[in-house]
């Protein structure tokens, strides 16, 4: 019985952009309970970060952003993560984000390039 004709349950986008002369491969996945975003210029996932929204009862949401594997001394990575989780939240989703960043440079231009490439191709 060929009952496995259902579509694969995880929507995924896979594309490349050039940021500051560096080829950047991006993958965005939507799981049932997380978004996964990978941005790499170095052929590995690099540093992996986690971000979630913490909703209070009456106050505005706050966000918890942390490194779960990799560089803990590069604030630009946390900044990208924070911008993306805020974008997710303002698009109406409360799902947390797992973000991997394997970047060759940590400049502001790269930060803006990554954030805009992801937001343009978002799955939220």
């Amino acid at each position: 019985m060929g009952g496995l004709e259902q579509r694969f349950p995880v929507p995924l986008k896979n594309f490349s952009v050039e940021i500051k002369g560096n080829n950047t491969d991006l993958v965005i996945c939507r799981y049932d309970d997380h978004f996964l975003v990978m941005a790499t210029q170095i052929g590995t996932m690099g540093t992996i970060l986690h971000a979630r929204k913490e909703e209070g009862v009456t106050v505005e949401p706050t966000f918890n952003v942390s490194v779960i594997l990799g560089k803990r001394d590069e604030p630009m990575l946390l900044a990208i993560t924070r911008q993306l989780i805020e974008n997710i939240s303002s698009s109406g989703s409360s799902m947390p984000l797992v973000l991997s960043l394997g970047l060759k440079d940590h400049s502001t231009e790269t930060l803006k390039g990554i954030v805009s490439a992801v937001v343009e191709n978002r799955l939220w």
């Binding site: 009952g3 496995l4 259902q6 694969f8 349950p9 995880v10 995924l12 986008k13 896979n14 594309f15 490349s16 080829n23 950047t24 491969d25 991006l26 993958v27 996945c29 799981y31 049932d32 309970d33 997380h34 996964l36 990978m38 790499t40 170095i42 052929g43 590995t44 996932m45 992996i48 986690h50 779960i68 594997l69 797992v98 394997g102």
Partner: protein, 150 residues
């Protein structure tokens, strides 16, 4: 005058052609392989994201949740393997064995996201088997060291 270099050029051309044939399976930056298998009446979904020096694997069953995330890599000097849980997996390490054995068999640096029911070692073993079969098909098995007489 250029015959040695032209034959060298031909070899690298065919190499380049086969590399681009493999790469063209990717739409966009990296190659993504997804497949679904029915194993012991359980539907398992697999997702493999191939980066140049690392692979990411997701195994899902009844839901498409991310599950527990593990990082595993070969560790010098003994060719042993290190695994660490990086998300979830606090009280349940379903999937950490899969991560460890994938690295042992392929020598790759791997991130595994595992969302299969816990307390089901048969299911875990079957999932690992299906995954390993696919990785071998994709060319990822660890090259066996040649024995001296061969």
């Amino acid at each position: 005058m250029s015959s040695p270099s032209s034959s060298f050029g031909k070899a690298s051309d065919s190499e380049a052609a086969s590399k681009s044939a493999a790469a063209s399976a990717a739409s966009g930056g990296v190659q993504v392989t997804t497949f679904t298998e029915l194993v012991d009446e359980v539907t398992l979904h697999f997702q493999i994201i191939h980066l140049a020096k690392q692979i990411y694997v997701w195994i899902g069953s009844d839901s498409a949740k991310l599950g527990n995330l593990y990082a595993a890599a070969p560790t010098r000097p003994n060719n042993s393997v290190s695994v660490t849980s990086i998300l979830g997996g606090a009280s349940d390490n379903t999937g950490s064995g899969i991560a460890r054995r994938l690295v042992l068999k392929t020598g790759l640096n791997i991130i595994v996201a595992c969302n299969i029911p816990k307390n089901n070692p048969m299911l875990e073993a079957n999932a690992e088997k299906k995954l390993m079969e696919k990785l071998i098909t994709l060319g990822y098995s660890r090259p066996k060291s040649r024995s001296p007489g061969a």
